[in-house]
Amino acid sequence: MTVPHPAGQPARLVRSGLIDRSQPLRFSFDGRDLTGYAGDTLASALLANEIHLVGRSFKYHRPRGILSAGPEEPNALVELRNGARREANTRATVTELYDGLEARSQNRWPSLRFDARAVNGLFAPLLAAGFYYKTFMWPAAFWEKIYEPLIRRSAGLGTMASAPDPDTYEKSSTFCDVLVIGAGPAGLMAALTAARSGARVLLADEDFRFGGRCLSEQRHIGDLPAQEWTATVIAELASNPDVMLLPRTTVFGSYDHGVFAALQRVNDHLPVPPQFEPRQRLWRIVARRTVLAAGAIERPLLFGDNDRPGVMLAGAVRSFINRFAVSPGRRAVVFTDNDDAWSTVADLQAAGAEVLAVVDSRDGAMDANRLRSVSNISVRNTDAINGVVRRASGGRALQAVEVVSNEGQLQRIECDLLAVSGGWTPTLHLSSYLGARPRWDADRAIFIPDQLPAGMAVAGAANGEFTTRAALNAGYREGQTAAQALGLSPAQFALPSTPDESAARQALWRVPNTRGKCFVDFQNDVTTADIELAQREGFNSAEHLKRYTTLGMATDQGKTSALNALALLAEQTARPIGSVGTTTFRPPYTPVPMGALAGHHRGRDFRPVRLPPSHAWAKEQHAVFVETGAWLRAQYFPRTGESDWLQSTIREVTAVRSTVGICDVSTLGKIELQGPDSLQFLERLYANGWQTLAVGRARYGLMLREDGIVMDDGTVARLADQHYFMTTTTANAVDVYQHMQYCHQVLWPDLDVQFVSVSEQWAQFAIAGPRARALLQRILDPGQDISNSTVPYLAAANVTLADGRRARLFRISFSGELAYELAVPARSGDAVIRQLFAAGADLGVIAYGLEALGVMRIEKGHVAGNELNGRTTAQQLGLGRMLSTKKDYIGAVMSRRASLQEPAGPQLVGLKPVDRALRLASGAHFLPVGSPVTAANEQGYVTSAAYSPTLGHWVGLGFLANGRQRHGERLRVCDPLRNRETLVDICDPVFIDPQGERLRG
């Protein structure tokens, strides 16, 4: 008899189990306040409170209970937690109970007990396999507006949280000699053997407690009850500093060369993670050897209405009794096609339940001698029936089962629990993720791992070694093998003597002649009838069956259903199961939260951000920042009274063109080259020549890809005879450096050139405007001559600042003004920009950002990222004359291709609106006046556009067919995206100072 428990948990057993009765925990389900104990799962605590109805099914909204006690659970999915932490589709069977846990049933309306959409069951013929494809096909226009929203409303499972996740997640890497996946008897023994041999061992198990089936079975290992033996092994492993134990950790993926991914639920067992601790941690594990000891999953049997709450896997029944001290029913029937489930009888009886009958489908199953030999089962007061359960009856709870004996005798047995077992399926997923298909073992009627990834072994139930003794032996064997392979001397020790149970089975893939719905996949509401229909419609392959019926999809990925479905398909197509094969196994083994995959990388840490040396200063100036590649750069520097970016930008451009402005250009890639062949290397790298570049001079350079398309541009300065300093664009800095390494290491390893990135060493500021020289002079050593004759346009010089700092000065202009780039060691950057502003206050110095930089380069017709877009040639950019004909360089041959020389091809032009009040936008297309707006009439496109404060109207750059011959022509630019059309005049791309007088001034 079950003794009602004092804490109001009527199905709780008074003794035994691995729960802590001194730690009661409060929780709620659908608003009802309940209690459980530390050591419970949500499922065991619900059962302790005699709550069997926990959810509604996906399609038919049928009442569902708890089928399993593990990760395979298809039914007992609940919504856990509240607010921003709410998570849908949480399996109650693996949710560790904590004080204050709040869970709600899902997929029901208005309530779990009365679900209006259960009428779907009456329309079952409409909802059969493939109903999406059949029912919602016509009219096509209905899909987006009517069908899809309708399906989404009614078919979804839980509800997502809509607020950002307040918890943190992280990733971590670890390395080991031997990774053991699963801490049941096989895994514990493998870990123990490998650890005793001196290996670095990592033991991971998805459960919060190590032990696997040892926790759930009344068995002895050696002299100890299995639960106690487990504790002694764990204690030994925990005392070894080279053993890492990861409970609550699911190894969910395996990758090439011994790499595994695992999810550790660090704090899912608490209402809120402790401060500073992550909720979950994603592990990347690199293992030299792996022992997969993931155990096995029991299969349900297929009979009518086999989904009623109260129908439970036999192994789960034993788990709830032995591990969680809960009796899942008072009046039980056991239905099996194998010996293993018989031990459920004794456990139920010990828990005070009445076992009314054992129904075993096998011929000869009831032979008394056989029963004695396979187990010590006492079937006192229990009816042993050789036959099948044909149908379960009841609605929200099981009421009775209809049993048909093999002799054809029908009887109805009133009961509230039906323990079912269709045998166990090895959990071999991780052995198959790299593409190996498992092998069908006809004797045991299971798939077992066949060809394994290099370094992996499988032990125990995962390998079809189902009994405790076999599992221990297998763990020892694979622990030794792993040690041997690592070059260690394998530990030798005597295994505890353990009686062997019987795992004999004679497969009953389905009960014949059932009535009612017979579910194969509980989670997706796929029945035997759906599988038959799919097969009749021609879906004969396992992969097609899965897609058509949705069998094996969603959170459980067919863990309880896949093999049963394959067996049915085999039967219907009269093929052996082995030739039907399995569907492809793919990670993850169980669902992985997106937060864990993101780890640290979200919000401002989404990716690393690079800050230029003036960042702190720019922040003080209230700069508005913009991400450009990895860099965070000042976009503009708003001043009081300025209402938008355009106003600030106009002020900044105007100031640079009239006084002086400063922009941090440290983000440019900077590379220094030395060595006797550095000139030769530059010659091959760039399309233009460098032979005449004198020491102390800089020059613009153009780099092509080998296919003749422009790759990047920048400047090269010659600092000494064999010492060059080159810059790349900000965007291409990493690619160009890697390209140079390729050219040097792969193409021309004989060149005696040494180069390294010095991007991080130098802070570099553009100082531009008519007063640039005056400003610069104020912070330089007074003796430093920077007159136009000493430091002319394109000069490069080493200079000394007034405070003694050493710097490099380049007379380079991107803005078109008199301009310098001053490079100082990066740590001095902050101090130097402050010096510049302090020194230049009376000169009207201003800071300018990327917007102003962009406007000025468009005014000046300089090409940038919009034009150097990976599809343009030097000829198109108007830089064709730079291509040297006197040397080989990257891209030389291909840039001479006839198709790239086409005179009528696109060429860079400038454009301005005929009505100067109108604005221009990049992305618009050139079309002749009067022709229809069609692709056939398109003659090019606008790449850049900006309002020019200097000219007082918008200007643009673009590529126009034969454009250089068409200056003065009037065209339309059409922008179908923004639905705009503007009449423009085509002109030279240089709008300001075409002779370059300012920059040479």
Partner: protein, 196 residues
């Protein structure tokens, strides 16, 4: 991690406060950092030259050697990072010693170097560095070029405790520090004054 958010790299304590910190970090300041790249075929001569000038031959594998405040830290084939903690050597002295055998590039301002130590230092680093720092794989004198949370780093172990130094490109330092501080806050992290 509000604590780390508000944190600037100044002495103090962040993350968990009770008990000794799991990570202790300070900036290791370098008088000089430089990249040295050997000219083709010159490595043996160069190594002999550094041995003459500084008392140490060059490491030819991912290791570093130090003597009297000067370290040669392997940075790739034929490539070393030279670190001088004192005014022991400057660029000029270095250039003279290796002239004709190698190119030297000044990098003093290019990197921030941190020294990290503490009972949980390996657990903290494992949250970003994809390499094995277990003493069976990585010991005093070892060097690794790798990434930490997608940021390139150079790491070397200077004492058995273990003590590691980590060099990070200056522009990435804020992101790097945010990752390190976040990763260490679980164990408590103390920042102590730089070692100058």
């Amino acid at each position: 991690m509000a604590d780390a958010d508000a944190f600037a790299f100044t002495p103090g304590r962040i993350g968990r406060l009770g008990g000794p910190p799991g990570l202790v970090v300070r900036e290791h300041t370098c008088g000089l950092l430089a990249s040295m790249i050997a000219r083709p075929g010159q490595t043996p001569t160069l190594s002999a030259a550094t041995e003459r000038a500084f008392g140490v031959p060059l490491p030819l594998t991912p290791r570093f050697v130090s003597r009297q405040g000067v370290s040669f830290i392997w940075s790739g084939p034929g490539h070393w990072l030279i670190e001088s903690t004192s005014a022991a050597i400057g660029m000029d002295g270095l250039l003279t010693s290796v002239a004709g055998m190698a190119a030297v590039f000044e990098q003093t301002d290019s990197r921030v170097v941190l020294e990290v130590v503490g009972p949980r230092v390996r657990d903290v680093l494992a949250k970003g560095l994809p390499i094995d720092l277990h003493p069976a794989s990585f010991q005093v004198g070892h060097v690794a070029l790798t990434s930490a949370s997608h940021i390139g780093v150079q790491l070397w172990q200077t004492a058995v405790d273990p003590v590691y130094r980590i060099a990070v490109a200056r522009s990435f330092f804020t992101s790097f520090w945010h990752w390190l501080a976040t990763s260490a806050s679980e164990y408590g992290c103390a920042i102590i004054a730089p070692d100058y």
